[in-house]
């Protein structure tokens, strides 16, 4: 019988992997069992830091440690689908998938169908939903404290110069990364839905202004919600010389709420109760990822041990990826597009075998 903690492995040992490892370590009922990266120096670094076995192939990892129950996939965005489907079908493990869950809505549907068939579970990561500022505004919207939403505005003005995109081959590509909206703006795209409900129509213009890359580093867009609300979005990584702003603000029937900070961690304006700003802001200095991953792992541990439901379900994550694609589709077609559509962007998540082969882990 299983009385031991659920064993969790992390694959992909980039910057955010350490945050997953430390979040797993702080939650009761789950345990970090191994880390894996194609580059031995990266996996050994986390392996030694967290005192767990490290691997350069997950095939070897699952062979040596069959007790692993769940795998956090923290590999390049374009590899999430391939890694997730292989790990579920070949090794029968639950998966936790970093943002963006998958680069295409169709990939998400296939992955969930596979999980259902194999009786496995997919846990998408949207850690900013747990931020206290976000929760305060969400509660105020649910409770009627803010009234109906009239306008939602997202503004992300960050600086990612050429050297950032030159760090790895996958960065700045449609096949593996997506541009400013997919990589940097995805949490705000998710919050557009999480706070405002589903978006009906989108009109977007994308361009590349500050770096020599394939993908957009700038997008401006307008949105119409299923309700009467409208929205405006501006996301860029072409701001210079520094990161300036990443905010989401809501003009509502009974007041204004604005969340900012480096990772939607500061409640900057909340007119129904100005004192709530200090009480619901968190200090994320030194840790841009905040505390949400710990809360997410607590939800995963509770789900595995006691039942209930993980807060981000299939339809929820599908709708966020559909919304993401609608911005690209609108730019491609030069017109308004309806978000709830089977159509997909022709660019985001396109196939590039040469690039994928750099991150593919072959069977021994």
């Amino acid at each position: 019988m299983t009385t031991k903690p659920f064993q969790i492995a992390v694959i992909g040992c980039g910057r955010i992997a350490g945050h997953h490892c430390s979040s797993i370590a702080e939650v009761d009922g789950i345990e970090l069992s191994a880390v894996c990266d194609l580059v031995e120096g990266k996996s050994s670094s986390y392996g030694k830091k967290f005192n767990v076995p490290f691997f350069t192939s997950y095939h070897q990892m699952f062979q040596d440690l069959p007790q692993i129950n769940t795998v956090a996939i923290v590999t390049p965005s374009g590899m999430h689908f391939e890694h997730a489907t292989e790990i579920m079908s070949r090794y029968k493990k639950n998966i936790i998938v970093e943002k963006p869950t998958f680069l295409k809505p169709s990939q998400l549907s296939v992955a969930y169908q596979l999980a259902e068939k194999e009786q496995l579970h997919i846990f998408p990561v949207f850690q900013n939903r747990y931020n206290r500022a976000v929760q305060r505004v969400k509660n105020a919207l649910n409770d009627g404290e803010l009234g109906a939403i009239r306008i939602i505005a997202v503004r992300v003005r960050w600086c990612r110069p050429q050297r950032y995109y030159d760090l790895s081959p996958w960065r700045g590509t449609y096949a593996q990364d997506g541009g400013a909206l997919t990589n940097q703006g995805i949490h705000h795209v998710d919050l557009l839905r999480y706070l405002g409900g589903d978006v009906k129509k989108v009109s977007a213009t994308m361009c590349t202004l500050g770096a020599d890359i394939e993908v957009e580093d700038t997008i401006v867009a307008t949105m119409a919600y299923d309700t009467k609300a409208v929205g405006v979005l501006e996301v860029t990584t072409s701001a210079r010389p520094d990161d300036f702003e990443a905010s989401i603000s809501l003009v509502c029937e009974k007041g204004l709420a604005q969340i900012g900070g480096i990772a939607v961690n500061e409640l900057q304006i909340f007119t129904p109760d100005p004192a709530a700003c200090a009480a619901h802001s968190e200090d994320f200095s030194g840790n841009v990822y905040g505390h949400g991953h710990g809360d997410m792992y607590r939800d995963i541990a509770a789900f595995l041990r006691k039942g209930g439901s993980y807060p981000v379900g299939r339809q929820d994550s599908l709708n966020t990826i559909k919304l993401l694609h609608s911005f690209y589709r609108s730019d491609e077609q030069g017109r308004d597009v309806v978000v709830d559509s089977e159509e997909e962007s022709t660019r985001l998540g396109k196939s590039d075998e040469k690039l994928a082969s750099l991150y593919r882990i072959h069977l021994p």
Partner: protein, 361 residues
């Protein structure tokens, strides 16, 4: 950080601090209501202050200071924070909605009403009161044997579920108090809605959605206008096949749930209840191997304490005090389980047409 957050957000609807004992009223003070009170009063932050039951001959006060009333309307005139609804199916939705309309958090026993329309009405009312918590009493999810089995299934140690077989039975429909359970106009359904709903809920917990259902529903033995036996064969969207038998002609009270997986099996037998008549609560896990000759290694765990009532109430209290969503027994979960019960009824076309049942609102 967490405790600070809890303190800040623990405020009542009127803005006063909730850092005090929460006052509980219990509507329906029969066997279940009294049992609920026992666990409510064990909780450090909850206190029963008033109850109501139609069996009281007058309004008054018990020796311990708790007020009692003949009607729920007078119970609701008390200053309360939480209402527990332990009433028959035909009044439970009405009183649940009255609780919400009086700005009370509500815990309502299963089933959520007589039919899907009943729970749909409550959900509409709940939407008008988003600050309030509403939880339904599906306490079997909180039994230790069920929790351990779920944990084992989710560990994938024994592979995927292939099939499940669940039997839940008692000896008659009319139990200890009153005859409302045997009349369709009061109960809405028979043994499946009253007791089998717990098994249906567990099957949803372990399997998920069902895409195909065949059933036989019968009242041939007791001849009430509600069923005394329900037999169902269901297929999950993940291919798992489930057999269900809910019975009121089971002369020995019985609870058993067999879960067959790819590399073993889990058998839950017996469940601890107030009457202790369902046998010792046990979980037997069989670990299949190629050379066991059909006689696999087994480990049996016997659970000698029923923590389900305490844990369920603790969970409800925490959702109020920490202002977090109700997960187990939420109204949407209750609606899904009720929907599955009615799909089982309607899969027997003769039964469906005889009583003009609807599986949708």
């Amino acid at each position: 950080m967490k405790s600070l957050l809890v303190f800040i957000e623990s405020t009542c609807l009127d803005g006063t601090s909730m850092d005090r004992e929460l006052k509980v009223g219990i509507a329906g003070y029969g066997i279940v209501g009294k049992r609920r009170r026992e666990y409510i009063d064990q909780h450090p932050r909850l206190k029963t202050v008033a109850v109501c039951d139609q069996s009281f001959s007058s309004d008054g006060e018990f020796d311990d200071g708790v007020h009692f009333y003949q009607s729920y309307e007078r119970l609701l005139s008390e200053k309360l924070d939480i209402l527990f609804v332990c009433l028959p199916n035909y009044v439970a939705p009405e009183v649940t909605m009255a609780g919400l309309q009086n700005d009370l958090h509500v815990f309502c026993e299963k089933p959520p009403g007589r039919d899907i329309q009943d729970i749909a009405n409550v959900i509409e009312c709940e939407k008008q009161h988003p600050k309030l918590k509403l939880k339904y009493g599906f306490n079997h999810r909180y039994h230790d044997s069920v929790r351990e089995a779920l944990k084992l299934v989710r560990s994938q140690e024994l592979g995927k579920i292939i099939n499940m077989r669940g039997v839940y039975g008692k000896s008659k429909i009319i139990p200890f108090s009153g005859g409302w359970r045997a009349e369709r106009r009061f109960a809405g359904g028979g043994i499946l809605l009253d007791q089998g709903i717990h098994m249906v809920d567990l099957m949803r917990l372990f399997v998920g959605d069902f895409v195909k259902i065949e059933s036989f529903i019968s009242n041939d033995y007791w001849h009430h206008d509600v069923e005394d036996n329900a037999y169902a064969l269901m297929k999950g969207s993940n291919g798992v096949v489930v057999m269900l038998h809910s019975s009121a002609t089971s002369w020995r009270h019985r609870f058993s749930l067999d879960i067959t997986l790819e590399r073993g099996a889990i058998t839950l037998s017996g469940i601890l209840s107030g009457s202790k008549s369902y046998g010792a609560e046990k979980m037997t896990v069989a670990y299949a191997s190629d050379d066991d000759g059909g006689d696999p290694r087994e480990i049996t765990t016997r659970y000698n304490q029923d923590n389900s009532w305490r844990d369920e109430i603790t969970d409800f209290a925490e959702s109020i005090l920490e202002n977090r969503p109700v997960v187990e027994g939420s109204s949407s979960e209750a609606l899904e389980t009720m929907h599955l019960v009615y799909r089982i009824y309607c899969a027997d076309h003769e039964w469906q047409s005889k009583y003009k049942l609807k599986e949708e609102v």
